[in-house]
């Protein structure tokens, strides 16, 4: 991995090759985050492009007060959430959490469960059904390996909320997994 400061300075001076290196370096981070939040494949690709265009435009204002990955994740989160707000209209995204109980009580029939490949595939499928804020913290913590403080910086949620969402999401998934395995 090349020195980030050097790459950023090259990009700010108009080096397209350096920017391509940066995109390749953070492609996974952005794609995983956006695809978990947005879930529509076509929209996901457009939003990923939009995220990197924003990164390119605002890179000059990046002051190394945080890790570059945190800063990029912040842009990705903001862009994905804005898209979701646009798509869902006036519905508040935290309303999803109000549906938590319904999700909790919904159990699929054994045939559907048996049709699933394995534990991992099953969990991935269940994650998609979770409220957006749960999906966000799970992805940032487990997949992108950010710390609680970094997740707070990216999402603007207080650390306590992040911990709470993470705990509840995992507990919920554990219960789903338990039902799945018993069948």
């Amino acid at each position: 991995m090349q020195n980030e400061e050097e790459i950023i300075s090259r990009i700010v001076n108009g080096d397209v090759t350096a920017f391509k290196i940066l995109v390749k370096q953070y492609e996974k981070l952005v794609t995983y985050m956006v695809s978990r939040l947005v879930q529509n494949k076509e929209d996901t690709q457009d939003i990923c492009q939009e995220v990197f265009i924003k990164v390119y435009r605002h890179l000059g204002s990046f002051k190394f007060q945080s890790k570059l990955s945190t800063w990029i994740a912040q842009i990705a989160y903001g862009t994905a959430i804005n898209h979701l707000k646009k798509v869902s209209g006036k519905r508040n995204l935290t309303d999803d959490i109000a549906d938590f109980e319904n999700y909790h009580k919904t159990t699929e029939d054994p045939e559907t469960i048996l049709a699933k490949k394995n534990n991992t595939a099953f969990i991935q499928q269940q994650i998609e059904k979770l409220p957006v804020h749960y999906r966000t913290v799970l992805t940032l913590y487990h997949l992108n390996e950010f710390s609680y403080l970094e997740i707070e910086e990216i999402t603007g949620m207080p650390e306590g909320t992040v911990k709470n969402y993470l705990f509840r999401a995992r507990k919920l998934l554990k219960e789903k997994l338990e039902i799945y395995i018993k069948y």
Partner: protein
Amino acid sequence: MMKAPSDEEIQQLLEQQLKEGGLHELPGSDEDSTLYRLLFTALAAEPEVSRHSDLAKAVVKQIKTREQKAESLRYGVIIATVLVTGVIGAYFSISYVSPAIVGPALNFILAYKWIFAFIILCFGLIQIADKKLVVGH
């Protein structure tokens, strides 16, 4: 008999294991601990997502297209401003400026026509050079 750990305790222990580098069976593990271990493993697995074949190339292409559009728009605005200013200027000249003043002004322009032509030429050359440098860059 040892009390089974709560959900919170199991999650904290597994988080600690993640920080230390890998998940392994918890001491005296019960069914919940095993389920959580399976869950933590599944959560760290890379999801199947449809990725762009060459995202970097697509992004650079988009940036260039947008920059070209912005550049065209900038020139469009400059040309429109010049035209509108010209029309307004001509309207005011015809309506309010008396021929007694126009005569000496025209004589002045004619006397220094080469200087005026040189200024216009320089301005044009600067604009062309600026555009070429931006495109080359």
